[in-house]
Amino acid sequence: MPTQPANLTPWVRSGLAALCILLAVSVSVRSYAYWQRLADGAPAWEASGQPVDLGGGATLPRAAAAPFTIRVAPCASPVAVDFLRASPYEPDPSLVGRPQPGDRVFYVYRGRDLGTRFVTIRLNAIYLARLAYARLTGQDVPAADDLALKIIVPAGCEASADHVMAVLRTAYPPPAPSALRDRAPPL
């Protein structure tokens, strides 16, 4: 019959006491937060309205985050830019925009090229990571409604995602939403 080694018992008892104290503190903290919430009202979960981060310190006003086209030096046809909300509850990114056969598609988040494989999973992971960060840091308005860019480079043009992003960062004021607006649901 295994029994508790005598020299360990004080450690285990201390551990039990510490667990009970942690539990009491945890219950107290939640009870306090509950009463505080009853007094102040639940925080509203609204869109943050923060600008779109293009990387390299450049941003795009949220109001300008609608599909548009932009001229990029080596391309004969304009490059199409769409905006995707990084969230599991948004439409499949591959369904946004209408790339033609031969077009190259890039997904960019905060100036970083996400590649073309498993983009949906990456965007969902970004959303969850930002949501977790917002929860852990106690932000009332979770900064989880970030936008990523979907860039469609026409066939025959060799411009890279970095090159297009460099043009986008310097294009101020941002290009007006074009006739391409109807290619995606409004954000």
């Binding site: 019959m1 295994p2 029994t3 508790q4 080694p5 360990l8 018992t9 450690w11 285990v12 008892r13 201390s14 551990g15 039990l16 510490a18 667990l19 009970c20 942690l22 539990l23 945890s26 219950v27 903290v29 939640r30 009870s31 937060a33 509950y34 919430r37 599991p88 509850y89 499949d92 369904l95 949906t120 999973i121 969902n124 992971a125 969850l128 977790a132 929860r135 852990l136 106690g138």
Partner: protein, 295 residues
């Protein structure tokens, strides 16, 4: 008289037997009890005090999963004193470290505690089956409450495509005019339903796994082919119930409201739980009858 005593020994739950035998709960048992109860209590308080109100269906599902995981943990912790888990210094340190997750301000995140402690007990339980069992239950609880939900959200669009395709194929057997557009299904031109996260069978399957493992541990049965068959039956029944519910929503708005928000929703939740419990319960009871025909 002797037969009667033997029968009581077999049928009386192990946890109660430990208490009625008059032996005091050791410090190790107390620490394990405090950790298990603290984790479940923290998650419940977070969910009910600080997060959005739960629908009847989700309330039933969450409480059932936690209840089974908690009951299996209690059963293992309060086993006969000869088989109780004894804690060492590093065990206590890991439990205290894991207990810090009680303060995570999100009810799924609280189960990081059982992830850490469960992994520690499972890895350190090669020589002690009771520790390994406890580790398995804690890990199953954290998989159901946290990791399966996280994986589902990350791969939502991929899982949704598979699930909607399956519902469509089965639905065509019942509805000749069943149409599909993305995640949307319809049998009429003026009414369609969209399959979202809450409609998925994914979470019901992880709940089924947790219930299956909990019943096996409570009954002290090893995992064998019969148990896996019972798990397969439960999984198929749970998926069938969910698909049946979604197909029942298709004809009209009234049908949707009944099966999605009304009494039909709770009925489906209870039916899913019953489908998860009954096959493994029958399997365990049948084994028990084979092992001791007199009882």
């Amino acid at each position: 008289m002797r037969d009667g005593r033997a029968q009581r020994e077999v049928t009386l739950p192990r946890a109660i037997r430990g208490f009625v035998s008059g032996r005091a709960v050791s410090a190790s048992c107390g620490a394990l009890l405090a950790f298990t109860a603290g984790t479940v209590l923290s998650a419940i308080l977070q969910r009910h005090l600080l997060e959005a109100p739960q629908s009847a269906q989700r309330l039933v599902e969450f409480n059932v999963g936690e209840a089974f995981g908690f009951a299996a943990s209690l059963s293992l912790i309060l086993a006969d004193s000869s088989r109780r888990v004894s804690l060492t210094g590093p065990d206590i340190a890991v439990l205290l470290l894991a207990a810090l997750a009680w303060f995570v301000p999100e009810h799924h995140g609280v189960y990081l505690a059982t992830t850490l402690a469960g992994a520690w007990f499972l890895l350190g339980g090669r020589t002690d089956r009771r520790r390994a069992d406890l580790g398995q239950i804690w890990l199953a609880l954290s998989i159901y409450e946290l990791w399966a939900k996280l994986i589902f959200k990350v791969a939502y669009q991929m899982i949704e495509v598979i699930e909607v395709g399956l519902i469509y194929r089965i639905g065509r057997l019942f509805y000749g005019r069943l149409g599909i557009a993305g995640a949307s299904l319809n049998v009429r031109d003026d009414w369609s339903i969209v399959i979202l996260e809450g409609c998925s069978s994914f979470h019901n399957l992880s709940l089924t796994g947790l219930i299956w493992l909990s019943i096996l541990k409570i009954a002290e049965r090893a995992v064998g082919p019969a148990a896996f068959r019972a798990l397969g039956v439960s999984a198929c029944a749970v998926v069938a119930i969910n698909i049946g519910r979604i197909l029942a929503m298709l004809p009209s708005r009234e049908a949707y409201q009944f099966w999605h928000d009304g009494a039909g929703s709770s009925l489906v939740a209870l039916g899913s739980v019953a489908a998860a419990i009954l096959p493994i319960l029958v399997c365990v009871e049948r084994d028990a009858c084979r092992l001791s025909p007199r009882t």
